[in-house]
């Protein structure tokens, strides 16, 4: 069951110079969403925007009828959303798309997230915690600023390890430098972030025979499976919005899709 819901912005928190956590009120979405899913957001009156923009649900608090989005400003739509005044209403179509699935009992969940790819994992970590599962969370970013929500993951008792390209926090380098260590033992990988990172993680996981769920981003027109604008190549073009955004990483033919955005 999906709906086009009005959601009211109740709180905005700057996480870095270009990223914010936006908390919205909508009782329907807060209870209906599942970790990994996303929503297509339409802004009021924003200058010249036509299409909705897709955002992963970052967190959900069904009891408070709230959910949050983590927004990184990369263009007109993200900028307008991130600068919305508190109290503003947006239209959120959702929840859309596939979900992360719980790891088998014998597998330790390892989450690999780069930049705004961190977004879908807070809700998922909460779900893991509720199921009394521990997880390793590897966060990467260009600089310390980009390790969004690190403290929230720690507060959930996750084993958080960080890497920054400029070495300003955690290991120096890309998040992939942290993976080797984390893959010891039976593991279920989850990843989301920039395509080069995902490709690298996917290669490693495949080499090691590690199961790997990946959340992909593609330009989206409808989010409902109708425009075929968002496709990802498996053995054919499948829709990121409907068959994804969470895919079994082994099914993706990465070389068919060099510049997907």
């Amino acid at each position: 069951m999906r709906r086009d819901e009005k959601a009211t912005l109740v709180e905005r928190r700057a996480l870095s110079p270009d990223a914010s956590l936006l908390c919205f009120r909508s009782s329907f979405l807060a209870s209906a969403l599942r970790p990994g899913q996303f929503t297509m957001v339409r802004l009021p009156e924003a200058e010249g925007l036509l299409l909705r923009r897709p955002y992963s649900f970052c967190d959900a608090e069904p009891d408070r009828e709230q959910f949050s989005l983590l927004v990184k400003e990369v263009g007109r739509g993200t900028r307008a959303l991130a600068r919305l005044p508190e109290g503003a209403e947006v239209d959120c179509l959702g929840p859309l798309g596939s979900t992360f699935t719980m790891p088998a009992p014998e597998h330790r969940p390892v989450i690999v997230a780069g930049g705004v790819g961190i977004a879908p994992f807070l809700a998922f970590s909460r779900a893991l915690r509720a199921a009394e599962r521990d997880a390793t969370v590897l966060l990467g970013g260009r600089t310390a600023h980009d390790l969004y929500l690190r403290e929230e993951f720690e507060a959930l008792g996750m084993d958080v390890r960080c890497a920054t390209e400029d070495g300003s926090f955690g290991e120096k380098g890309r998040v992939s430098v942290l993976i080797d260590d984390a893959l010891a033992g039976p593991v279920q990988l989850y990843s989301c972030g920039p395509t080069p990172m995902l490709v690298k993680v996917a290669e490693l996981a495949r080499e090691r025979g590690v199961a790997h769920q990946v959340s992909l981003e593609r330009r989206m027109g409808c989010g409902m499976g109708c425009c075929l604008g968002c496709v990802v190549y498996t053995s054919e073009y499948v829709r990121c919005c409907s068959e994804g955004p969470v895919f079994d990483a082994d099914s993706i033919q990465w070389d068919r899709d060099r510049h997907p955005l």
Binding site: R3, L50, L51, G221, M224, C227, C230, Y237, P260, L261
Partner: protein
């Protein structure tokens, strides 16, 4: 005043409302079931079909432009066989008229599609996308040459008793020439218009925004062009015209009706706002009441020039 009659009949096909979902923007009809009020929709044109399944273009396939969007999907579709066995039964369960949009790379392919569809339950009519390249004649589009457009219309008409509705391309100097030829070739109605070829470039990477380089422009940006083409077409032929291009509100739909359309299709704006169907229909009903219009069909061509 009694409730205005918002239904229309085009080429013998009954549409309970004048709002039809445009091909390629409403999937195979059922995708929007939980978020759209289907009672506001008079008909659905399904995604364009070839004989065989097609993979479509490599991504990126879409891009937003000022008040519009570009797409180069490349007609990714399931092929006629799978459509008939898997998609059509579910479409039949919807209480709405179904038009099947067909595409071919030769006269024969169009004709064969028409032959197959003639026997399929639940199909109300055939919309012919003639913006497909004719591989036999050097890749020229059927739709941009009046003579070729007429030949393909004729070929399709021969194979089916269903109403046949060519969908015209805006990419011509004189749409009335094409319209008159396909009318003479037996077309039962016309859909006006398809997207306009267009392009955008990412200046930082210097790469085209679409992998296919050129795509089709749709959305409100093109509406004034579409209204003009509907006006010109409706004044050139006797058969009904279905107006398409950037409709976002009942005022927009009314522009097309007044310009000469008997019904309209909505595409891009359905992506933006799934409630566009209900809002547009309510707006049309309200307009009819305010202007004492008993049947929406009275508005067709009622522009005062």
């Amino acid at each position: 005043m009694t409730k205005p009659d918002l239904s229309v009949t085009i080429a013998g096909i009954h549409f309970r409302t004048p709002l039809i979902a445009a091909s390629g923007t409403f999937g195979y009809g059922t995708e929007y079931l939980d978020v759209v009020d289907y009672s506001a929709i008079g008909g659905i044109v399904v995604k364009g079909l070839y004989l065989e399944p097609r993979e479509g273009c490599a991504p990126p396939r879409i891009w937003e432009t000022p008040s519009g969007m570009l797409n180069a999907i490349g007609l990714q579709e399931v092929g006629i066989e799978k459509f008939v066995t898997e998609k059509m039964p579910r479409l039949c369960e919807l209480d709405t008229s179904v038009l099947v949009n067909i595409c071919g790379s030769s006269l024969e392919e169009y004709a064969e599609l028409a032959r197959i569809l003639d026997d399929v339950d639940g199909v109300s009519g055939i919309e012919m996308n003639i913006s497909c390249p004719n591989v036999h004649e050097g890749g020229i589009l059927f739709g941009c040459d009046p003579n070729m457009a007429a030949r393909v219309t004729e070929a399709v008409k021969k194979k089916t008793s269903l109403p046949v509705i060519p969908k015209l391309s805006p990419n011509v100097t004189d749409i009335t020439a094409v319209a008159r030829e396909v009318e003479a070739a037996g077309a039962d109605a016309l859909s006006v218009m398809n997207t306009i070829p267009a392009m955008a470039i990412d200046v930082e990477t210097r790469r085209p925004r679409l992998k296919n380089i050129i795509g089709g422009l749709s959305g409100p940006a093109i509406r004034p062009i579409a209204v003009r083409l509907v006006y010109q077409t409706a004044n050139a032929v006797q058969i009904p015209v279905i107006g398409i291009g950037g409709i976002a509100s009942h005022e927009d739909a009314l522009e097309f009706l007044l310009a000469g359309a008997s019904a309209v299709q909505i595409g891009t704006m359905g992506f933006v706002d799934p409630s566009v169907w209900r809002k547009t229909l309510d707006g049309l009903e309200d307009y009819c009441r305010r202007h004492a219009v008993a049947a929406i069909s009275e508005l067709t061509g009622a522009v005062e020039t």
